[in-house]
């Protein structure tokens, strides 16, 4: 993706993020390179949450008083703006606790399909059916499918990852077969930054009538995403990785599918009619939002997409691309540093994982932390991926709209510092 738009004015933009001006570890300037884990929130998001709570707080979709009306409007208004942001229709977005819940919702609802009405038949998973994932998945889009396979007797299959961190689709026709019921895969690897060819996977799944479930946690925050254009059946992403609050995620489902999908969590708010003998359920999205939902979080996420839209997703993507190129160059030039995953910035988002010869990632992270640089260390909830790339763990820097080239330099200097400290330079 390229853009001709003016580059970001990062200095001005950083002023919206109060946390970025704090110091850590004895007065070190904070260099926050862990947005892939959670992003920081601008005052616009914090203010929107506060304003909602100070003026319109009430339980939504119940009560007829004025506050209830205003709160419901704020909640549903946020849904509309988020839908516009990701190329979906209003009724196609379900608010969840987080992205993980979104994947579980689909997996459990599919597990419930066998005991639901005929309209749910398309979701039934039978013994011997196949569920396809990839070796690149975050545990959130892997474990729920392992569990669904376990509960139904289905077989779990997966795409391997090539040594340079791309999906190996060379055997796509033997992995996705007429027995495949679901293909669950990530849009952008949370570890490697690899952007996967959604079109190829969707086409293969559609040829055999399988459903597609996309992990969009690392794509929606960082570039333009249009679910209708991508053609996926379901997608899940989280609020806190896109300048929004924690405690809210979003599940996208194509309208006709959500209408036929049985519920996962049941209780209040998701019903149509309740009798002692049994109940019927509300249409989507309410069918999937049992209990009192999060409200200020939805409002905050609405404010986050407003903020991102004003800045412009093309520009954010281009900015992060420039930071990624600089990090790959800077880190790649240090003897003893092994970049994990794609060695270039083609089809790759702003995540740069690496190992330093002779220094465990935990120890490297500790030295970086002592310099004020916050990175993620460990396996980043993608243990199988690390195994197949022969890394026990890694150091991962991730970038967002508020990061600067200066901070990339600080990271590169910090890695050299770690080498000096542990005597491996």
């Amino acid at each position: 993706m390229t853009t001709t738009a003016a580059p970001l004015d990062v200095t001005a933009l950083r002023a919206d993020f109060p946390i970025l001006s704090r110091t850590v570890r004895d007065g070190k300037r904070l260099v926050y390179l862990d947005s892939g884990a959670t992003s920081q929130r601008p005052t616009q998001v914090l203010d929107a949450e506060k304003a909602f709570l100070q003026t319109a707080n009430a339980a939504v979709h119940r009560g007829a008083h004025q506050l209830a009306e205003e709160a419901t409007d704020a909640y549903e208004g946020a849904r509309q703006r988020i839908a516009d942001f990701v190329g979906a229709d209003f009724g196609e977005l379900v608010f969840t606790k987080n992205a993980t819940e979104g994947f579980n919702l689909v997996a459990y609802a599919m597990g419930n399909a066998a005991t639901s009405g005929p309209e749910a038949a398309r979701f039934v998973v039978n013994p011997g059916d196949e569920i396809v994932v990839t070796e690149m998945e975050h545990h959130a889009n892997l474990v729920p499918w392992q569990q669904l396979a376990h509960r139904t007797g289905a077989v779990l299959k997966w795409f391997k990852v090539t040594p340079d961190g791309r999906l190996d689709l060379s055997d796509i026709d033997s992995v996705i077969t007429p027995r495949t019921r679901v293909v669950a895969f990530t849009h952008q690897s949370n570890v490697l930054g690899t952007i996967n060819p959604v079109d190829v996977l969707v086409a293969a799944a559609q040829r055999v009538g399988a459903l597609t479930v996309l992990d969009a946690c690392q794509s929606v925050p960082h570039g333009p995403v249009d679910f209708h254009a991508l053609g996926v059946d379901f997608a899940s992403f989280s609020g806190h990785k896109m300048l929004g609050p924690s405690g809210i995620g979003v599940l996208y489902g194509r309208r006709e599918l959500l209408e036929a999908l049985p519920p996962f969590i049941t209780g209040g708010s998701m019903i149509e009619l309740v009798r002692m003998e049994g109940s019927t359920f509300a249409p989507p999205p309410q069918r999937f939002e049992a209990g009192s939902p999060m409200t200020s979080q939805a409002v905050g996420l609405g404010a986050a997409v407003d903020y991102l839209s004003v800045v412009g997703m093309e520009r954010i993507h281009a900015h992060e691309h420039a930071l990624t190129v600089a990090a790959l160059e800077g880190l790649g030039a240090i003897p003893g540093v092994r970049l994990i995953g794609p060695q270039d910035a083609v089809d790759r988002g702003g995540a740069v994982p690496f190992e330093i010869e002779g220094i465990h990632p935990h120890d490297a992270g500790q030295v970086l932390d002592s310099l004020g640089i916050a990175v993620r260390v460990g396996h980043h909830c993608a243990w199988p991926l690390h195994r197949c790339l022969n890394a026990q763990a890694s150091v991962r820097a991730t970038f967002y709209l508020y990061n600067t080239l200066d901070e990339v330099d600080a990271l590169v200097d910090g890695v050299r510092e770690a080498q000096k400290f542990f005597g491996v330079a």
């Binding site: 120890d363 002592s370 026990q392 763990a393």
Partner: protein, 146 residues
């Protein structure tokens, strides 16, 4: 500087030249422990004769803190009665969970007192305890098997 407080020379020495490393026989029980947040792992064997720890052998992958603390463990417990080894274990756990507020007893913990600085970093406490938890588990297993 904080970093030096954490990475004492003793820790770095044990990391670079670990004591007792490698899996050996005979042994009575083995324990495999993993730190799920980072994937660090240790496999540790104990050989106990007449209630005395005769040997502790181990292998694993991990950061300097987890490797060094397991190395220190072998120095502290090999040749000791199980009861005394467990007292040291309790003292080490207390030190590590003390958020830097516990004054370690050098007579009990010897090189182990070098980990006092690690206790100020909650995220690293699990690293320091990995080998020790494996030791505790292995000894309990060995007693169950006896």
């Amino acid at each position: 500087m904080q970093l030096q407080q954490m990475y004492q020379e003793i820790i770095l020495d044990h990391y670079k030249n670990p004591h007792g490393r490698g899996l050996r026989s005979p042994y009575d029980a083995e324990s495999f422990q993993v730190n799920p947040t980072c994937g660090d792992e240790v496999t540790l064997r104990v050989h106990v004769v007449d209630d005395v720890v005769q040997d502790v052998s181990y292998d694993g992958q991990g950061c300097s803190i987890s490797q060094a603390s397991t190395s220190v463990l072998t120095d502290l417990v090999v040749g000791k009665p199980v009861g005394e080894a467990f007292k040291k274990l309790d003292a080490f756990v207390e030190l590590m969970q003390g958020r830097g507020q516990v004054e370690p007893d050098e007579d009990v913990l010897e090189d182990g007192i070098a980990f006092a600085g690690v206790a100020k970093y909650p995220a690293r406490v699990k690293c320091a305890l990995l080998g020790w938890m494996a030791f505790k588990d292995a000894v309990v297993r060995s007693q169950g098997a006896a």
